[in-house]
């Protein structure tokens, strides 16, 4: 049981660190690198650095509102 917990914790930390370093690289370091350098191959074009977090935020807000609406409807139906 605790091995599974530790594995999940480790996975979450690794995911968060990789997201942080990738995003830092993308937004801060890449504009300083010449456009001919090979490392640009590993990163999507810069517009996606804005689109992907905004899109993820919008999806999260939609999911939260759908969930809240669903719970409210279910509680109202149970009372009636």
């Amino acid at each position: 049981m605790e091995v599974a917990d530790r594995a999940i914790g480790l996975l979450l930390s690794v995911i968060s660190l990789s997201i942080f370093t990738y995003y830092t690289f993308w937004v801060i370091i890449l504009p300083f690198v010449d456009s001919e350098h090979f490392v640009h191959k590993y990163f999507l074009p810069q517009e996606y650095a804005i689109l992907i977090p905004v899109y993820a935020g919008v999806v999260l807000i939609c999911f939260l509102s759908v969930f809240i609406g669903y719970v409210m409807l279910k509680s109202k139906k149970k009372k009636a």
Partner: protein
């Protein structure tokens, strides 16, 4: 009520700082436009990191769990002797 005023004051101060950064052009403009988004993403990843680290360091206390199971068995026996229904096993 007071807490939300503190939060809104913090938000207003941060946006004022950001707008002043935009106007005085200390950093290149493209950086200043991306700075709030970068901070939101880094805050999210920091929260995820704290959750992961807390999961990894969670203490389980196996001896206390064993003693608790023994206490449960003893309590069930005692209550059953007194005639109380202790539920299914």
């Amino acid at each position: 009520m007071k807490h939300i005023i503190k939060i809104m004051a913090l938000l207003v101060a941060l946006s004022a700082f950001w707008i002043s950064l935009l106007q005085t052009s200390v950093l290149p403009e493209s950086y200043t436009w991306l700075l709030p988004l970068y901070f939101v993403v880094s805050l999210g990843s920091y929260g995820l990191l704290m959750v992961g680290v807390g999961l990894m360091r969670f203490p389980t206390c196996p001896q206390e769990a064993f003693l608790l199971q023994e206490d449960i068995v003893e309590a069930k026996g005692f209550l059953k002797g007194k005639g109380v229904d202790v539920g299914s096993d």
